[in-house]
Amino acid sequence: MERLEWGPWGVRAFTADGRVYPADRAVVALPLGVLKAEGVRFVPELPEEKRQAIERLGLTDAVKLFFRFDRPVFPPGIVELYAPGAALEECWSNPLGHSKGIEVLTALATGEKARALMALPEERALREALQALQQALGQPSLTPSKARLVHWRDDPYTLGAYSMARVGASEARQVLAKPVGNRLFFAGEHTAPNAWASTVHGAYASGKRAAHEAIRSAYREAPLGPRRGLRPSLPPPLPDGRPAA
């Protein structure tokens, strides 16, 4: 979807291949990265307060690295290593590997460390990360049979790993969660309260919250609801002159 028009008459989504989807309301569950990059245009644009919150709330730089080894790496009973201050701070085992006689370790780098890794060609980033892992574990000759890294910064439909409450942004998620004009309702990890944001459970709960807001709003405007007959004006004609759906 490229453009979302909204007004008292309802909403209308326009896709890149020219299709138009009219409806009464929309739940916007796009990632913060896409909102920041204005990957979707709102017409008219979102209220100032919302646009400022989109800008203020941070996005974490995160890189996930995967290493497959032909034999176990951690001592028995250990599944995770936390090395504060090291070049790779967190790494954990995929416990299912143990039953297969192999090891799959996943490491997460964020902040400066992630930015440094993302600036390197992939092969070098993997080599440097491996060194960091060898150091953190105190196993300098540790060699993986396979390695891979992912980050979500360049993925056009994500554009960043997850939201981050930067200094000065402790209220931003609350603002991002607010409905607009009884037409637009907002979901996504970045609309969850600070305690739950940046997670799957936060995103899941935000979807339910936004849906309930939309359901209540629909009920208030329903022909037999408390504010009967409120159903407003017609949508503007489509840009190419076709009649509004």
Binding site: V28, A62, I78, L81, G97, W152, V167, G188, N194, Y204
Partner: protein, 178 residues
């Protein structure tokens, strides 16, 4: 009643499900050829699935944990106590359980006794203001999951740590988050 849902990540999917229950006609628009967004399990890298995006359920007190239980999904609990090593400044590797007994407060999850934050100060400034005080593992993890404390809002971090759902440990969905 017709409602668009834009984005078929977990947030859009849970919204669509609720709207359907309320008899809304739902149109779900997704840019990719798959649903799930930042939940993306890969089964080609190794003999076991890896998670390119989300990997853990961070607490047994959140709705996705009950959902996984209801759906009968196999989980593995990382207790982050005696199954997790911490690298000490001298390079020694110790379990959190061992460090916890040495350094009081290291395995304190909820920071219940931590003072209020001054307005919009950074986590770095807040920690400095508090002076010498062990930083619990859960807060260290928060820092490692985001960025340097100088960039982070202390108020938001404290809200995270004081939440009733905050607990030690993580659950992994053994057969994939998707």
């Amino acid at each position: 009643m017709k409602t668009l849902v834009i984005g078929a990540g977990i947030a859009g999917l849970s919204a669509a499900q609720e709207l359907r229950k309320a008899n809304h006609q739902v149109i779900l628009l997704e840019a990719r050829s798959r649903v799930g967004g930042r939940i993306h399990t890969d089964r080609s890298f190794a003999e076991v699935p890896i998670e390119l995006g989300a990997e853990f359920i961070h607490s047994s007190q959140v709705p996705t944990y009950s959902l996984a239980q209801k759906l009968g999904l196999r989980t593995f609990h990382y207790n982050q106590h005696n199954d997790t090593l911490v690298r000490l400044p001298d390079g020694a590797l110790r379990t959190i359980a061992e460090v916890g007994t040495q350094k009081q407060g290291y395995d304190n999850v909820r920071l219940v006794d931590w003072p209020e934050v001054n307005g919009e100060e950074s986590l770095e400034a807040y920690l400095e203001r508090l002076g010498e005080r062990p930083i619990p593992f859960k807060l260290q993890e928060y820092i490692s999951d985001f960025d340097h404390p100088r960039y982070l809002s202390a108020k938001a971090a404290r809200e995270y740590l004081c939440d009733p759902s905050a607990e030690e440990g993580d659950y992994r969905l053994l057969d994939g988050y998707d």
